[in-house]
Symmetry: C2
Subunit: 380 residues, 2 copies
């Protein structure tokens, strides 16, 4: 990570380079990048056409500013505004986006821009990767979750009735512009949900980052330099993992810490965001992963308590009992876990831990152990 020059440390801009050979790209992190999008794109991409995909929440706030910025730099843009929410990651919407890109005659050197959170980024990145077998793709993530998670690593896709993200491709963007000031319009709940993924990077393999967050999380929530720092460190942490295992044959699975339980809980609540959003599922999932590791005598129960304490302090849910409404029984949750894509020849793959910042990939977790653990937790 290198810092660009800036006289004002509170708005210091960061650049994280993701060195993936011919798929290498930059992530710019800082205040006011949206207004500079046209210049940043036109200096990197030849084509002079763009299509912006956004949603009904983000579009009214930022679409006009982005269109203006593109126009100033001579990029002609069309836009498509989709319904907000997880249900937009569907085959129907994928078909619609592809149709709009083809009608706009977006060619291989033109740009498709995802302006929105993870849903818009995942759907748009998938469409950009399959239209004409791949056109240029720029992410402008507008949620904390998407700035620290989906903007790095190239996973794109849609949901299927069998589960989340079961259809998609790896498609690295050409550029990511993470404008930290757009996060000011997020609700407290959305910001917190994104923060769960920030904390995750500490829990995976950066114990000193987790400690830093325990001390500085209020400043991260307040904005300014601490927020930019936390986002840049998160992007760098994810990039470090992705670079050694782009297509998730091994180490990259660590990024799923808390996600196997989390995805199952999202499925169990029918992706109803009034009950549970992704980051909340991950928060509960990370506590469960630490508790399950303690139960298997792999880690100290104190570590699970420390994770729970921090996430609770931040305002995140940390147990299944905090999810409003009824949850299905343990065996139904197990089915959702088994259909999750991190399954190899019937064996359950789980991210477990030896303690804070000491996560590892376990390929041989007996499903009976998971089932009885879930039974126990559901009755607590």
């Amino acid at each position: 990570m290198s810092e660009s020059s800036s006289s004002n440390t509170s708005s210091a801009e960061r650049l994280v380079h993701v060195p993936l050979g011919e798929r290498a790209y930059d992530i710019l992190i800082g205040d006011g990048l949206l207004a500079r999008a046209g210049g940043e794109i036109s200096s990197r991409i030849k084509g002079r056409k763009a299509a912006i995909i956004t949603d009904e929440h983000v579009g009214p706030l930022y679409l006009e500013a982005l269109m203006d910025s593109l126009e100033v730099d001579g990029i002609e843009a069309v836009s498509l505004t989709l319904p907000a929410g997880e249900k937009t990651k569907s085959f129907d919407h994928l078909t619609k986006v592809c149709d709009v890109l083809l009608e706009a005659r977006i060619e291989r050197n033109d740009t498709v821009i995802a302006l929105g959170g993870g849903v818009i980024g995942d759907l748009t990145g998938f469409a950009a990767g399959i239209v004409r077998r791949g056109v240029r793709f720029v992410q402008i993530p507008t949620s904390l979750l998407s700035q620290v998670d989906s903007s790095v690593g190239g996973k794109t896709g849609i949901n299927a009735r069998q589960g989340k993200n079961l259809v998609g491709i790896f498609n690295q963007p050409d550029l990511v512009l993470a404008d930290t000031s757009v996060l000011n319009t997020l609700s407290e709940r959305e910001f917190r949900a994104g923060y769960a993924e920030v904390a995750k990077y500490g829990l995976i393999d950066k114990p000193e980052f987790f400690e830093w967050l325990e001390r500085n999380w209020r400043a991260v929530f307040a904005g300014g330099a601490a927020r930019t720092e936390a986002i840049a460190l998160s992007c760098q942490a994810k990039a470090d993992v992705v670079v050694v295992d782009e297509r998730e044959n091994g180490r990259r699975a660590l990024l799923n810490l808390g996600h196997t339980f989390g995805h199952a809980l999202e499925a169990a609540t029918q992706y109803d965001s009034s009950r549970l959003v992704h980051g909340e599922g991950v928060a509960i999932g990370m506590v469960l992963a630490h508790e399950f590791s303690a139960r298997l005598n792999l880690a100290s129960p104190d570590d699970a308590k420390r994770v729970e304490k921090h996430l609770k302090e931040v305002g995140l849910p940390t147990s299944m009992s905090e999810i409003p409404g009824e949850l299905p029984p343990a065996d139904v949750l197990m089915q959702a876990i088994a259909q999750d894509k991190k399954v190899k020849s019937g064996q359950l793959t789980f991210i477990l831990t030896h303690g804070i910042g000491q996560s590892f990939v376990a390929d041989d977790v007996p499903s009976s152990e998971v089932l009885s653990f879930l039974r126990e937790k559901l009755t607590q």
Copy 2:
């Protein structure tokens, strides 16, 4: 190309290796490979589940034999039989195939098998590349066209209302089994259409292969060693081009010789196979490409006549006037050409030629020249 040992030269088996680094794979060409599919797959792929995608023409002929072969080698398979024809390359069928693969719990090390021609191969390869962001993929091409064309190079995809193959990915198979004996059930018309692509490899950059075909085409049509030889040489020719330019940034475009005109004619006949099939469009397109090159004083008119003579002798159509029914006017054909994906920043890219086996990529063909050429040919 290396020959495997065989005591019977008339059924000599060939292996073409496509050296694409970590995406390298083998193409086996010969008699009776279908019955050996289980062994060939199980020796290369770990998973013990498979899903076979086929169509209503091919399924009744070969599905049972394939299922039997898989069963013998301990591979548990499900199958899906789709309608035959170009219309199957749609978002609706893609959605259906993905759903079947997920329901069958095909995991990353399990196998998706395309049993059919180019339509089934393109659709299935696309689905196999996006389900769980990629599972294993084996092609068993059952038409001459798919054995020499779509089985090599990894282009997969579906059609959009704006044109053919406008949505898809590059997805190299793990193995291709080209059983030459299944070609015996093809109609004469289908075999001839596939032969247009065989002749194409000679016309691109192998003049000695084109000469060999002028002398030996009857033996290729009859089957046996000459057929196996022609298929192996075609696969090798395509592999040679793909290896230096997998993602079509340059030289690979040569494989589109005859295809820009051909695709426009297919679009103009609404992909109605009773009027025109792909290989017939390519045959007419190749003659047009040679004539257009002669018109631009790039090649001798004698070369265009020689191409026309050979394709006519084989029984292929060589002019637009042979297509049954009305064709749209030249400007409508031009629109289809402009929407074709081989367009860069508005400039027309065409494959032109300096003569037999001397094709080249031209990036700067004036559309006015193409338009007046088409007007002239349509009134002949």
